[in-house]
């Protein structure tokens, strides 16, 4: 009996091995190039259908290429990619953003794209690639542009007795507006600002620090213990004490509240419109009646700033299918189909192109929100010196910001301790 079972198991194992071999051969024999694409677009409910549709259209146009989309959350992707690079198993293409692009580039395993760019370069906005160089080489292709703007809810402003067509232009005006909103609508969060401890939060706070004249990290130099930084920390503390901000929430956690008219001002990227509309099914016309977006209220420096939170595509040096991978990257970033389906769809970001590729997209970009970003906000973008040093500094700086916002410790020792921690890096 036992012998019969053993023989049966052996036959089954042999059959399974042969079947697997045949299947493998069939996949290899059909001549399809299989590309792995690590991205968070497929991990988020808002963008998943759009990225799947864009991929399906690419596969339809290129029947010899198959895309295997690997969904990884935004906050995990850099970590996972670094570990996969180190274990010799990176994807072919990945979606990255902000500091994460430079953290992964520091591994030295991203393919420089200068030689691939060709005529694509002339179609891109020159500014869209200027900050994507690592050690002099272009390491990423801009996919979407998503700068941050100062969003204001006109209905909440009107209810507070403020002029909804004149959002605050300075930090002082902003403080007064928040006081009026808090007084008239105590259940509304006056300002949505990300104060979590992560590199993205530092990137998001960077323009606010800049408008106070503070730049806590410049290349490898740290300067957190400065009067400008203390002024910024003091301002944030005042906001928290007055209940104008809700510390500890990620910016993504404010978005559903914004869709419910529970937030008056939101410091967020261009994609906020898509998230709000996908949450409350508001029409475009109603959205523009309810929401406006403008430049950041200027602080003591007198200048308004923004940060570019757009997404990039990177190609890994270990990819065996670089030509196909580049075609896919180019398709996502520059083709009218992908821009229509994904970039201007639920992604509601801006394409990196200097000019709209056709009349339909030109018309789609002609909205009050896109025009405000294109003409007024993008020129205010400031980019910090990204890289592993920025990631390492972000923990120290945002821990200091949190301490200023949530404790009553004097600001001077907080700034000093931030400086000491930055110096120890």
């Amino acid at each position: 009996m036992l012998r019969t079972i053993r023989v049966s198991l052996a036959i089954c194992a042999l059959a399974a091995t042969l079947a697997a071999g045949f299947i493998f051969d069939a996949q290899a024999a059909d001549g399809k190039v299989v590309l792995t694409f690590a991205n968070w677009a497929a991990a988020e409910g808002t963008t998943k259908p759009a990225i799947e549709k864009a991929i399906a259209e690419f596969e339809k146009a290129h029947p010899d290429i198959e895309i295997k989309s690997e969904a990884i959350s935004f906050s995990e992707i850099a970590r996972q990619l670094v570990l996969r690079v180190r274990s010799g198993n990176p994807p072919d293409v990945a979606q990255l953003a902000g500091n994460d692009t430079f953290v992964v580039a520091a591994t030295g395993r991203l393919e420089p794209l200068d030689s691939y760019l060709g005529d694509v370069q002339s179609r891109l906005k020159p500014d869209s690639i200027k900050d994507l160089r690592h050690q002099g080489k272009l390491i990423a292709l801009p996919w979407t542009l998503a700068p941050a703007g100062f969003w204001y809810n006109k209905a909440i402003m009107a209810k507070a007795g403020l002029d909804p067509e004149h959002p605050p232009q300075t930090v002082d005006e902003l403080t007064k507006a928040m006081a009026a909103i808090k007084k008239s609508q105590p259940d509304v969060i006056p300002l949505a600002l990300d104060t979590t401890n992560r590199p993205f939060a530092l990137q998001s706070n960077w323009p606010w620090m800049a408008t106070f004249g503070a730049t806590p990290v410049v290349e490898s130099k740290s300067q957190a213990d400065t009067p400008e930084m203390k002024r910024y920390l003091g301002w944030l503390r005042d906001l928290a004490k007055s209940g104008y901000i809700d510390p500890g929430r990620k910016i993504g956690e404010f978005r559903p509240l914004a869709a419910q008219d529970k937030v008056a001002f939101v410091w967020d990227q261009v994609l906020l419109q898509g998230v709000i509309q996908s949450a409350n099914k508001m029409s475009d016309a109603d959205f523009y009646k309810r929401w406006g977006v403008t430049t950041q209220p200027a602080g003591p420096s007198g200048k308004a700033y923004s940060f570019e939170g757009g997404h990039q595509l990177v190609l890994f040096a270990d990819s065996k299918q670089k030509k196909a991978a580049w075609m896919f990257m180019q398709y996502l970033a520059t083709s009218p189909e992908a821009i229509k389906v994904y970039t201007l769809g639920p992604g509601s970001s801006l394409p990196p192109l200097a000019a709209a590729p056709n009349a339909e997209l030109k018309a789609a970009l002609d909205t009050p929100v896109y025009q405000s970003f294109l003409t007024r906000i993008i020129p205010t973008v400031t980019t910090p010196a990204f890289g592993p040093a920025f990631a390492s500094a972000s923990t120290a700086i945002m821990a200091g910001v949190q301490q200023a916002v949530t404790s009553s410790d004097p600001i001077d020792p907080i700034a000093k301790s931030m400086q000491q921690e930055l110096d120890r890096r």
């Binding site: 670094v82 979590t196 401890n197 592993p388 990631a391 949190q402 404790s407």
Partner: protein, 304 residues
Amino acid sequence: MMEAASAHATNVLRRKRRGTPWLDSMVAPALGVLAIVVGYPIVYTLVLSAHDYDLAGTEAPRYIGVANYHKLVEDPTFWKALVNSGIYAFGSVAVAALIGLALALLTEDLVGRKGRIARMLLLAPWAVPFVVTAFLFRYMYLQNGGAINAALIETGLIRAPIPWLNSAYLAMPAVMVANVWAMAPFFFLLLSAALAGIPNEVIESARVDRASRFDLVVRIKLPFLRNALLIGSLLMIIANFNDFAKIWAMTQGGPGYSTTTLVIYVYRQAFEKFAFGYASAIGVVWLVLLLGFAMAYLRALRAN
């Protein structure tokens, strides 16, 4: 007669074993597996701790001797994380053990359907996954729209919402409350079982001696529960020292470093700064601390 026979059989077995040392080699496969799954990571961590190893960089790991340990001694965040780990682990276990003990004593005499339902309800938090517990409490603690603040405001106990997780002073106690809620059922279960194991004769004779309820608990039951409490506490202190999910999901170690424990600090060093050498040095210190603690605890247990 039976005892004599048993002793004789044991002696025969011992004599036989002395003559067959190959029997000892039967544990070799188990030791081999342990050496791979436990020994190798420990040795590799020790080796890494003596290197400057940036996982995100292009340079090869560089031997730096004890420099990571020097850095660690001078790193105030490490000390803060160590203190936080102690407060979190010992504080949570002490409170959860007390609550578990009280619940076990209160429900000891409950029998029938009522008893079963009460025990089932009291054990329910233990069945909730830790990450779910963390998010549950995180949303209940929200400053704007959280259930706890809403209830306190509604009942007139407070006028303005309390920033439970957004206060450098309240965040640690708030996280510990969630942890105690999740852990108390473990002690309840363990101590209920230990209470059921107390011989009836002991309880009866104490009653015959007219021991008060207080004396019965303090002088009779608690000494019987001592070993269960010691073992349960040891397990839970080690588990809490290594607790990542609850703290990360609720505060990510913030605000500032107010809820940063060693495990959070190691995670940030290893997977945000990619400083694997320094993270390994912290891991080694952490391992030595836990081993020392476990040994002291086991010695105390053996002494009893």
